[in-house]
C-alpha cells in the first residue's frame, strides 16, 4: 500500500499547468512562501502552487483545508473524539448542543477512538476524494491526548493513505509535539488570537494549566507563550503549521497584523483569519454582550494587509468538529455511529486511487483553460478590480442552480489575474425557533459587494431582484470552469466600459452570515 502511495505521489509530482496560474502578487514573489522568506506571498494556498517550495506544495496540494485549489476537489472529515477543553474562550459556549446549532466546537455526537476509526474507513470508501482526517474537538484534541492519538494510530494502521491533521489552542502543544511527529501527523493548526496578554485577557477568561486555573493577563500570557513555543517546535520538526485567528472587531482586529508577523517569523506557513461568529442565541460571552463580527469588507481588508507578509487562507468554512465531505457540504448525517457500526467496511485503496487520478486530470484541464483565457487578455491594463459570486457544487465549475446554492464563492478579478477571496453562506439558519428569514434579501445582502453572480441556471424572479440590486445574473458560463469564465467576463466588462455601455460603480459591503457551515 505504501508503494501505491509513493507511485501516486510520483505521478503527481510534476508541476501541473495549474502551478503557473496567475494569481495576484505571484509575480512579485521572488523569495518563495517558505517561512522566513521576505517576499510578498499571495500565492500557494490560492489558485495553485504559486511559489511555494515543492516539498510544502506536495504536502498540501490535496488538502482541502490548506489548499484553495484542492478544496474544490478533495474532502475532509472531522471526528469528534475530543470533548474536553483546557481553556475557555469568550466566543465559545460548550453548554448548548442544539441540533440546529452550527458552530465550531458543537457536535451532535461524540465518538470513541474505535468508532471514529471505523467511521473514517466507511467515509473513505464512500467518498473516494476524502483525503484528510482531522481532529478538531469539539474541545481541544490535546486536552484529550489519549483519545486523539489512539484514533490517529488506528486510522494510520488501516488506511495509511489518509493524511492526519489536528487543530489545537496550543496550550498543551509543547509536551505533545514529539508524539505528533511520531504518528506522522502532517499538519497542525493552532488558533492564535493574540500575542499581547492585554488583548488576550479580553478573549480568554481562563486557562487550566498544570493543575491550576489562571485568569486575566496571567492566563493569556501562559497561553501565548505555549502557542508560540509549540509553533517553533513544530517548525523545527518539519511539521506544517497553519495559524487560525478569529477576527474580533474592536478587540484584536488591528492586533492581528502583529500576530501575523509573530507567527510568520516562527515558521507558520499559512494564516487563516476568520470572522467572529457571534449571536445572543449562542449563549457565548461575546454573543450576550452583542460583540459584533466583522463585515466582509473589514475581513478582506485585514486579510489583504496580512497577505503582504505571508500566505493567507480565505476558503475556511469554520466547519463543525464532526463535518464530513467537501468544504461547503456536510454529509455527516449519512455516517451516524449507528449506520457506521452496522456497516461492513472493506478498504479499497485502488478504487480511491483511480478516482483521485480522474480528479487530477480535471484539475489540469481547469488550469489549462484558465491559462488559455488569460493569454487572450494580455496587454490589457486597468485599475479596476471587480468581485463576482459563483454558485458551485465543486470541481471548480459553475455547476449549481441559483436557488439551490447554500453558499457562493467570491472571486476578485483585475488585469493582474483572478483570485479567490472568500465565500458567503446564504443557507437558512434556525433563529432559535422564531422562524426563518426570506432567503432572497439575505442573498442580496451577502453578495452586495459583487457586480455579477455566475450560476448554472436561475429563475425569473430572483433574476429581477438581483438586477434591481445592481448584480448581474450570468448563466452563459453554465458548467464552465470558474476562473476561465471570470476572466472572460472581466474582459467583456472592460470592453463595455470602453464603449460606454456601462459605468463602473464601486460596490458596497457584503454581510457575513453567522454560524458554521452545515447543510442540514
Amino acid at each position: 500500500m505504501q508503494d501505491d502511495r509513493q507511485q501516486l505521489e510520483k505521478r503527481t509530482q510534476n508541476p501541473t499547468a495549474e502551478c503557473a496560474g496567475l494569481v495576484f502578487g505571484e509575480q512579485a514573489a521572488p523569495q518563495g512562501c517558505s517561512a522566513g522568506g521576505n517576499g510578498r506571498m499571495g500565492c500557494g494556498s490560492g489558485a495553485g502552487r504559486g511559489d511555494l517550495p515543492p516539498e510544502i506544495w506536495e504536502k498540501i496540494r490535496n488538502h482541502p483545508c490548506y489548499s484553495e485549489a484542492a478544496h474544490h476537489h478533495y474532502a475532509r472529515m472531522h471526528v469528534a473524539v475530543a470533548p474536553a477543553c483546557n481553556i475557555q474562550c469568550n466566543y465559545c459556549n460548550r453548554k448548548y448542543d442544539c441540533a440546529n446549532e452550527s458552530r465550531p466546537g458543537v457536535v451532535s455526537e461524540r465518538l470513541t477512538p474505535e468508532q471514529a476509526a471505523k467511521k473514517a474507513l466507511a467515509v473513505a470508501c464512500a467518498i473516494p476524494q476524502m483525503t484528510v482526517l482531522g481532529i478538531a474537538g469539539p474541545g481541544d484534541p490535546l486536552a484529550n491526548p489519549e483519545k486523539t492519538f489512539k484514533t490517529f494510530g488506528l486510522v494510520a494502521q488501516a488506511a495509511p493513505d489518509i493524511k492526519l491533521c489536528l487543530s489545537t489552542n496550543g496550550l498543551a502543544l509543547p509536551e505533545h509535539v514529539n508524539r505528533i511527529k511520531a504518528l506522522n501527523v502532517d499538519h497542525v493548526t493552532i488558533t492564535v488570537n493574540m500575542v499581547d496578554p492585554e488583548v488576550g485577557a479580553q478573549i480568554y477568561p481562563w486557562v487550566f494549566f498544570r493543575h491550576k486555573r489562571y485568569t486575566g493577563r496571567d492566563a493569556a500570557r501562559i497561553l501565548s507563550q505555549r502557542q508560540l513555543q509549540g509553533l517553533e517546535m513544530l517548525a523545527e520538526r518539519g511539521i506544517l503549521c497553519k495559524v487560525n485567528s478569529v477576527m474580533i472587531p474592536g478587540i484584536n482586529d488591528e492586533h492581528l497584523v502583529e500576530v501575523n508577523r509573530a507567527v510568520k517569523s516562527r515558521g507558520a506557513f499559512l494564516h487563516n483569519i476568520m470572522p467572529l461568529i457571534s449571536a445572543p442565541e449562542h449563549g457565548t460571552v461575546f454573543g450576550l454582550n452583542n460583540q459584533r463580527g466583522p463585515t466582509a469588507r473589514e475581513l478582506k481588508a485585514l486579510q489583504d494587509r496580512c497577505e503582504g507578509e505571508m500566505n493567507m487562507m480565505r476558503h475556511c468554512r469554520q466547519c463543525r468538529a464532526d463535518a464530513v465531505g467537501l468544504l461547503g457540504e456536510d454529509r455527516s448525517a449519512e455516517f451516524t455511529t449507528e449506520k457506521v457500526m452496522a456497516a461492513e467496511v472493506r478498504y479499497d485503496v485502488s478504487a480511491r486511487r483511480t478516482y483521485q487520478q480522474a480528479v487530477e486530470s480535471e484539475r489540469m484541464a481547469k488550469a489549462a483553460a484558465k491559462q488559455a483565457e488569460l493569454s487572450t487578455c494580455s496587454g490589457k491594463f486597468s485599475d479596476i478590480a471587480i468581485q463576482v459570486a459563483v454558485a458551485t457544487k465543486g470541481g471548480g465549475r459553475i455547476n449549481e442552480h441559483f436557488g439551490h446554492a447554500k453558499e457562493f464563492q467570491i472571486y476578485e478579478i483585475g488585469t493582474a489575474g483572478v483570485k479567490f477571496v472568500g465565500h458567503r453562506r446564504v443557507d437558512l439558519y434556525c433563529q432559535g425557533g422564531y422562524g426563518e428569514e426570506d432567503v432572497l434579501p439575505v442573498i442580496v445582502r451577502a453578495l452586495n459587494d459583487c457586480v455579477a453572480v455566475f450560476v448554472a441556471k436561475i429563475g425569473g424572479c430572483p433574476r429581477d431582484t438581483l438586477q434591481a440590486a445592481g448584480i448581474d445574473p450570468v448563466d452563459r458560463y453554465a458548467h464552465g470552469f470558474i476562473e476561465q469564465s471570470a476572466i472572460s467576463y472581466f474582459k467583456d466588462y472592460l470592453e463595455k466600459l470602453e464603449r460606454g455601455d456601462i459605468v463602473h460603480v464601486p460596490r458596497g459591503d457584503g454581510a457575513i452570515r453567522q454560524g458554521a457551515y452545515v447543510a442540514a
Binding site: P83, A84, C85, Q88, R94, K95, G139, F208, H211, K212
Partner: protein, 74 residues
C-alpha cells in the same frame, strides 16, 4: 466532605475525569458523577479542587452539603 456534579449543568465533556487525583469521577448515563467517599476535595494534592478548576460550566462542580468537610489526616 466532597464535591458533587450538578447533572443538569454537566456537558459530559469528561475534562474532570482524568484530573481527579482520587479517581473518584465516573460517567453514568450521559453525565459524570463524583464518588463522595473517594473525594478529598483535592486536599493534600493540589491547591484547588481540580474538577472545579477545569469544568467549562460555572457552578457545576460544587460542595455537597450532605457530607462534612474533608479533614486531611494529620
Amino acid at each position: 466532605m466532597a464535591y458533587k456534579i450538578v447533572g443538569s449543568q454537566c456537558t459530559a465533556c469528561a475534562a474532570c475525569e482524568p484530573e481527579c487525583p482520587n479517581n473518584a469521577i465516573r460517567e453514568k448515563e450521559g453525565t459524570y458523577l463524583i464518588k463522595s467517599e473517594k473525594c478529598t476535595e483535592c486536599i493534600g494534592y493540589f491547591d484547588d479542587p481540580q474538577c472545579v478548576a477545569v469544568c467549562p460550566v460555572d457552578d457545576t462542580c460544587v460542595i455537597d452539603a450532605a457530607y462534612p468537610r474533608y479533614q486531611a489526616s494529620a
